[in-house]
């Protein structure tokens, strides 16, 4: 019996040795091929300069923009999370930032959700891979601020961000947004592209209309339901007409519940998609290469807009780079973040101010999907929460 135990120990020892050799092999492979330059001492334990920036609430606070640029360049890397290249022109924005300042961007989990971003924030304190900045939905920004996840920081163009679209202390600030739109591949449907919510209810569109995800999981889908609600007599306090509308579509077989992906759009499985306008417009170029002509219309009967929010990690491993990134995103220069978002068909939060002071890219501004939003739909946080509850309770039963 003792022999059995001893022998298995030897076997296990051999296996453990093999495993540790492999681990060392991984380390060797990793370090020799490691091209991303996460600074080993990522945590702000370095000189006084980095700790200053973690507490700086604006560029002046830390000694001015030039000092910020110098400190950021010294840090050399920026960790971002959940910034897909095809989302609101982030590919160009990341490229422009790196080209301008030479700071490498290490993008993690590009397909992550706002929930994943906050989860990562909370669980990577002290790690080199912690995200420096997040781009999250509004409700996550509000709860994250209350929980102390973010650092207070006000960008240079702070005053151009409308009231109500930023935390007064600077813990979060809206960045870009858009309207719920109807994207359409005219070649794959037998009727003209629907331009209003009401036109979606067409038996000839059987199996062809899709929301971008589940309304309790995906922000665009949730707002798509609200747009349908507004088109059918709903309001900020009543999202049920939207659920009923999709129930009707589902019963008639018009509603396609498969997850929308580049494959499903290119193959024609989901030729009509409700999504944010900047996402629909952003996909146009790539779809063109696959031979698909994708048009985007904002339905006049269901005008719902939504903005995302930026926040800086309170424990960012690269605090100066994080703040420089925010300054870049909110710069109104011709090659700054706000205009780059505009060129991606995402409405930058400072658009009104930029149109007034002439810094908005006129061509991109004109190319935005036409919207007549004289009476904007602005539900309060409370109303949004109640609507989410209603959708959670009623959507599944209505759609199955």
């Amino acid at each position: 019996m003792e022999r059995f135990v001893r022998v298995t120990n030897v076997r296990r020892l051999g296996a453990l040795t093999a495993a540790s050799v492999l681990a060392l092999g991984l380390a060797a492979c990793g370090s020799s091929n490691d091209t991303t330059t996460d600074s080993a001492e990522g945590a702000p334990s370095g000189g006084a300069a980095s700790t200053d920036w973690a507490a700086a609430q604006s560029a002046e606070d830390g000694g001015g923009m030039d000092a910020l640029v110098t400190a950021a360049k010294a840090e050399g890397t920026l960790n971002t999370i959940a910034l897909p290249d095809t989302w609101a022109n982030y590919a160009a924005i990341k490229k422009a930032f790196t080209a301008k300042y030479g700071i490498k961007i290490h993008d993690e989990n590009p397909d992550g959700s706002s929930g994943d971003e906050i989860n990562a924030l909370k669980s990577t304190k002290g790690q080199d891979s912690a995200p420096d900045v997040v781009d999250i939905g509004n409700s996550y920004a509000l709860s994250g601020a209350l929980e102390g996840d973010f650092a207070a920081y006000k960008v240079a163009t702070w005053d151009d961000i409308p009231e109500g679209q930023k935390d007064e202390g600077g813990l979060w600030f809206s960045d870009y947004g858009g309207y719920i739109s109807i994207g359409c591949d005219a070649a794959k449907i037998s009727v003209p592209c629907p331009t209003t919510i009401a036109e979606l209810d067409n038996p000839k569109l059987k199996g062809k209309v899709a929301l971008n995800g589940d309304p309790t999981t995906a922000n665009a889908a949730f707002n798509g339901v609200w747009a349908a609600a507004l088109a059918n007599g709903g309001s900020a306090t009543d999202i049920q007409p939207g659920i009923d509308f999709f129930k009707k579509l589902n019963d008639e077989g018009i509603f396609n519940k498969t997850q929308v992906s580049p494959e499903t759009v290119a193959s024609g499985a989901t030729p009509v998609v409700l999504d944010w306008d900047y996402l629909n417009v952003g996909n146009t170029a790539a779809l063109k290469k696959s031979g698909v002509t994708w048009t985007t219309t904002v339905p006049a009967d269901g005008l719902v807009s939504g903005y995302y929010a930026q926040a800086v990690n309170a424990d960012a491993p690269h605090p100066a780079a994080a703040r420089l990134w925010e300054e870049f995103l909110y710069s109104q220069d011709a090659d700054g973040g706000q205009n780059l978002w505009l060129q991606g068909a995402a409405r930058p939060i400072e658009l009104v101010a930029m149109e007034a002071n002439g810094s908005a890219d006129k061509a991109a501004d004109a190319a935005l999907p036409k919207v007549d939003d004289s009476n904007p739909f602005l539900p309060t946080e409370d109303q949004i929460t109640k609507a989410k509850d209603a959708v959670t309770k009623n959507w599944s039963a209505a759609i199955s």
Binding site: S139, G170, T216, K257, Q259
Partner: protein, 331 residues
């Protein structure tokens, strides 16, 4: 008439009984050794304890907690919010997770998993047998490797395979039937990816290979001598299967059934890709733990995960009872 295999090639079920008693006397003769055997399990328990049970423990604990916060005041210097929060133990999450849409989604998940597990087990067993009894090792090699890959295939890639085939508008089969037979796949034949049946069809794509992989060793253990002996003693094929092969295979089949059930039960990416609004508990969990709409409901997500564990545990008890019965059967 029960046909029992000879003692020499006794199937492990029956064989286990005699060596076990011999082992006990063996062990008894080396006093104290049996008491130390459990030490051999220490590495396993240490590993599973630290890497799995501890993280899951965190989730389970979260399921019983709720945090209430007082009013938030902003510190004028740091701009951070200051508020009193209190985390207390409560059953409110569990209660909420067993109501309304959460309860119905749990029920639908169980139903779907049970049906696909049974289907997958039957079809997988058939396929495994067909492969094991084939001549030549090339087929076995190809099937083993393909099964391993397919068993882990899921999400959008798997969904697209079926969309490309059966989608109501652009599926290859749909278009073929429409063009050459004038038949509509959805309306005339009732086959579609919508609904639970469509989901089940896709689930089988990874459940059947899983069954094949875990049953192949068991099927290879069916010695040809038993079939020959049974034939020599005048048994029909049905009798061979009923009295010789089935009892031997039953423990592994039951275990694999349970495995398939759990695999289907916990499937998320594939379900979401085929039907984003499927009424399944895994989609509920993901929307609260890893979503873009519902923030601040992690405790509810933890409670939903706990419910999943609670559903499976009685199944394991039933399984173990069945195991004991079938091993008694063999004597």
């Amino acid at each position: 008439m029960a046909i029992l295999p000879t003692a020499i090639d006794a199937p492990s079920g029956a064989g286990n009984r005699r060596p076990r008693s011999r082992a006990r006397s063996d062990v008894a003769s080396r006093t104290g050794a049996s008491r130390l055997s459990w030490l051999g399990l220490v590495p396993f328990f240490v590993f599973i304890g630290t890497v799995f049970l501890v993280p899951i423990g965190f989730v389970v604990v979260q399921a019983f907690q709720r945090t209430t916060s007082g009013e938030a005041h902003r510190d004028p210097v740091t701009q951070q919010f200051v508020r009193a929060t209190e985390t207390h133990t409560t059953l409110a999450n569990i209660k909420e997770s067993l109501e309304g849409v959460y309860l119905s989604s749990l029920g639908t998940s169980v139903k779907l998993s049970a049906i696909t597990a049974v289907l997958g087990a039957i079809l997988g067993l058939l396929l495994a047998y067909a492969v094991v009894t084939s001549r030549g090792s090339l087929l076995k090699q190809v099937v083993s490797t393909a099964a391993a890959v397919t068993a882990n295939f899921g999400g959008v890639p798997l969904a697209f395979l079926f969309i490309a085939t059966l989608d109501a508008n652009v599926g290859v089969v749909t278009l073929f039937l429409d063009k050459h037979f004038g038949l509509s796949l959805g309306d005339d034949l009732g086959v579609s990816l919508a609904g639970l049946s469509g989901l089940a069809l896709v689930y089988l794509y990874f459940l059947i290979p899983l069954m094949v992989l875990v049953m192949m060793p068991a099927l290879e253990g069916l010695k040809v001598q038993w079939a020959e002996a049974a034939e020599n003693l005048g048994a029909s094929r049905w009798q061979y299967w009923r009295w010789v092969a089935a009892p031997v295979l039953l423990p592994s089949v039951l275990g694999s059934l349970l495995l398939l059930f759990c695999s289907a039960f916990s499937a998320y990416a594939t379900a979401y890709a085929i039907n984003s609004s499927a009424p399944l508990v895994t989609i509920r969990i993901s929307s609260v733990l890893s979503g873009n709409v519902l923030s601040g409901q992690e405790n509810l997500g933890a409670a939903l995960a706990l419910n999943m564990i609670v559903i499976v545990l009685p199944l394991t008890v039933v399984y173990q009872l069945l195991q004991r019965r079938t091993s008694r059967w063999l004597a």
